[in-house]
């Protein structure tokens, strides 16, 4: 699990059917200094209503994401599992 | 997946039983030259990959890594993480041919 800053959203018309109706967030993980990006931003599905500027707890647990999306065949791995308090 | 060149094979007599009969190839990942995107360049890295296709030395191949390497009937029970899944014919970037097997 990692904490990342929600920096944006992405929309897609043509996509794997398991993603229909799900919001895609662009989340940037940061290094311990809190300023240097740690790798590329990731796309995560969100059921909690995280928005730009939120610090989101994201997990790469594919099984958890498959349960969340109710799909055994979804290619999505990252999902938001929490939003950090202020 | 990534593009790699087969640079040799590896022979190992002493190996885990499940690997008997599987051909091991030495492969070197290549990447598109990021400055002008007109050619493939060597990354300097090297891997050992199981061959499911029947490749020869010097060929450019497509490599799958990680747990997905076990997602073939031939490799599902093997202790492997790198597999050759295809022989590359052509690589096109921005409409330009950067690799052609025939040339």
């Amino acid at each position: 699990m990692q904490v990342g800053l929600v920096i944006g959203t992405a929309t897609a018309t043509i996509k794997h059917p398991s993603m229909n109706g799900w919001k895609l967030l662009v989340v940037q993980p940061y290094q311990s200094d809190g300023r240097t990006p740690d790798g590329e931003p990731v796309l995560a599905v969100d059921s909690l209503g995280a928005g730009c500027g939120d610090r989101a707890l994201i997990t790469s647990d594919g099984k958890g994401t498959r349960t969340l999306l109710k799909s055994d065949t979804t290619p999505v791995r990252w999902s938001v599992m929490g939003i950090a308090d202020e | 997946m990534f593009v790699a060149k087969v640079t040799g094979s590896m022979v190992s007599t002493q190996k885990v039983a499940s690997m008997v009969g599987h051909k091991l190839m030495i492969v070197e990942p290549y990447r598109i030259d990021s400055s002008d995107r007109t050619r493939l360049v060597n990354t300097g890295r090297t891997f050992v990959a199981v061959d499911t296709v029947g490749v020869g030395e010097g060929e450019f191949v497509l490599i799958t890594q990680g747990s997905s390497a076990r997602l073939t009937p031939e490799t599902k029970n093997l202790p492997i993480d790198t597999v050759i899944v295809g022989i590359i014919d052509k690589v096109h970037v921005d409409g330009t041919n950067v690799f052609n097997r025939e040339q």
Partner: protein
Amino acid sequence: MRIGEVIGTVTLNRSHPSLVGASFKLAVPLTLSNLSGAAPILGEELVVYDALGTGIGSRIAISEGGEAAQPFRPDMKPVDAYNAAILDQINLDDSLNT
């Protein structure tokens, strides 16, 4: 998933039987500074399984690792990168882009 920009195609001469007829694209994962336009796209490309008919220049969602083969279940395909979506729009909050 990472965001990638499609820059090319890879054609196979011969492949594992499970990949016959598959379409493969070359995509470069995009960094935050690529997305904001502050830096040229120089990342290392990867070969992505594409079932969506994606054109060159499109931005896509790249699923990697074991999840990339999940859509084929219960069939097995040795795929470790899969185009999950063609992105129409990426809306970045510019005030956070530091």
